[in-house]
């Protein structure tokens, strides 16, 4: 295609990124800024018209894979209005409430349970901010700590299976989604553990309160009540791995299961709650996925000028080994994750970096996990850290005021990311238990 274009790739990318950042600074919503950044190019290039913008957004939405997004959001919303979340809080409290900083420990463990059922960090951040921030404030936790721990624990939702990011990544770059689900378990649990460690240290230093230890009977009772809910990840992941249903269908199963639990087992769902859950799902689906559409148009234009290829040719000449490349990939995703939402970032950057990862022999699942974990961290890094923005908004404080604690909590999490990069077996051993071709 090069040669037949009016603009050379350098000028085109300068226009696109220039317009994009200028509009972001003027507080134009990200989705619209991405689309408008493409507009001058569509007008200047003779072979393109703004019709392409319409067509590319349409192509992005006309996808059975992305359909998993509203389903996972709906699952999370049903859990909240239907009493599943309350039961999981009860269980988490019986399990870890007696550790130093009991309520904050419960916050982390609940995120882990939640992550196993829903695949959306934003849903996790929204619901847990409502549960924990006010409660932690009452028990004397500092606000910035409460906002930070709620936001950083919410990122578990996209690392622990099921995960929207894994489904999008798998669908876009043709990696086994079942394999990604299995690969996410170990890093997810490790991140939860280091977060609990961080809470422990904070609690010791600042004398945060703790709960009396629950009796064995209480704990067993809480497990019994929560077991139907805890079965969800088993059904979803198992169903995906054994090929009972596709990734999107597994998300639909999660919705049906959560609906059945809340209506038949826990019996806490009413029509008002249902309508609320559906509407909230629609709202978040709309704004999150609309952004994916315009990001796809943006990514499509970058590919049209072969800009990614030009950038990568440079990087390949550095001659990095697999580990250095892994760190490089993580760095790129961390930076991009600061300014873009995770799904558009996969659309634009994931496809760009794939050949690089392949050239140094990174396993596709390993590459995906480096990308997904890095992008998950991007959910709490400013200026565009959605989970942090949600938690700060609900707490009624400015994002900047929580930043110090967020970065302190991120340090041990970066340790886990480094471990994932340097020790591929950490993520690969679970998927490799299954013979190739079955996932």
């Amino acid at each position: 295609m090069i040669g037949a274009t009016v603009l050379d790739p350098g000028t085109a990318s300068m226009i696109m990124f220039g317009v994009f950042f200028a509009l972001l600074a003027l507080r134009v919503p990200v989705a619209f800024a991405l689309g408008l950044a493409c507009l001058p190019i569509f007008i200047i290039e003779e072979r393109l018209t703004p019709q392409n913008l319409v067509q590319e957004t349409f192509n992005a939405y006309n996808s059975f894979i992305l359909l998993a997004v509203p389903f996972f959001l709906l699952t999370a919303n049903l859990m909240n209005v239907g009493g599943i979340t309350t039961r999981l809080v009860r269980l988490s409290r019986d399990l870890v409430g007696h550790f130093p900083g009991g309520l904050a420990q419960v916050n982390v463990v609940l995120s882990l349970f939640f992550a196993g059922i829903s695949g959306s960090s934003t849903a996790d951040a929204a619901s847990q901010s409502k549960i924990f921030i006010e409660a932690q404030r009452k028990e004397g936790y500092h606000d910035s700590f409460s906002v930070a721990i709620t936001a950083v624990s919410a990122v578990l939702a996209v690392i622990v299976p099921p995960s929207i990011l894994m489904i999008v990544w798998g669908g876009l770059l043709t990696v086994s989604i079942g394999g990604l689900f299995l690969a996410g378990i170990v890093p997810g649990v490790l991140i939860a553990l280091v977060q609990m460690g961080t809470v422990h240290v904070y609690a010791k230093l600042r004398n945060y309160p703790t709960y009396p230890r629950a009796t064995l009977v209480e704990t067993i009772k809480a497990i019994g009540v929560a077991i139907p809910a805890l079965m969800t990840p088993v059904i979803i992941i198992g169903g995906k791995i054994f090929g009972w249903f596709t990734a999107t269908e597994s998300a639909c199963i999660a919705v049906l299961y959560a609906a059945a639990l809340t209506m038949l087992v826990y019996r806490e769902m009413d029509w008002k709650g249902l309508h609320h859950a559906l509407l909230e799902t629609g709202r978040l689906t709309g704004v999150a996925l609309f952004c994916v559409g315009t990001a796809s148009a943006f990514g499509w234009l970058l590919a049209y000028y072969q800009i990614p290829k030009a950038l990568l040719e440079n990087v390949v000449t550095w001659g990095m080994g697999p580990i250095a490349t892994g760190f490089f990939i993580a760095g790129v995703f961390l930076v991009v994750g600061c300014i873009l939402d995770a799904i558009p970032a996969i659309v634009i950057v994931g496809t760009v970096l794939e050949p690089l990862a392949k050239s140094v022999g990174l396993d596709p699942i390993h590459f995906a996990m480096i990308g997904i974990v890095s992008l998950a961290f991007g959910l709490v890094t400013p200026p565009y850290g959605l989970c942090l923005m949600i938690a700060a908004h609900i707490a009624g404080m400015r994002v900047v005021d929580a930043l110090k604690d967020v970065f302190i909590m991120l340090i041990p999490m970066f340790g886990v990311l480094a471990l994932v990069i340097m020790w591929p077996q950490l993520v690969l051993f679970l998927p490799r238990l299954f013979p190739p071709g079955t996932l």
Partner: protein, 158 residues
Amino acid sequence: MLRKITFWYGQLLTWLLAASVAILIFPVSLQIFSRYTALIPSYIWTEEMARFFFIWSIMLGAMVGIREGTHFMVDLWPPLQGRARSALRLVAAVFVLVFALVFLWWGIDFTRFAFNRISELAELPLWYIHLPWPLAGVTWVLFLGEQMWDDLKVLATG
């Protein structure tokens, strides 16, 4: 009067949004269960129907998002008040308006193209799912117009 119309139109859109999300579950469930029981015939149109409603729910959500101001943005500005706030909002709104007009203008062509075409499996008219683009354009112009009017008033009166 106009405000009443935009209000009820906004209400209508949120209802349609909730409904389209609810409907999404139906074809996908059907698709799963028909595979495992002989009672339900496995229809081939389930996947297509799911995508149709999915497109509508995204676009309806994006329309509602402008009215409610929930589209994600990167906020680098200190909290602003009064005129300064309205001025900045107006600048951003002008750009979104340009985007809305692009969707309206080229969306009409996009929909007209599809008038005589039908989908592959269910053989539904394709313009059903192209329509959300021009519709989003009109809707955004309407909602933005209302917001810009308010901001202009603040700018004028302080």
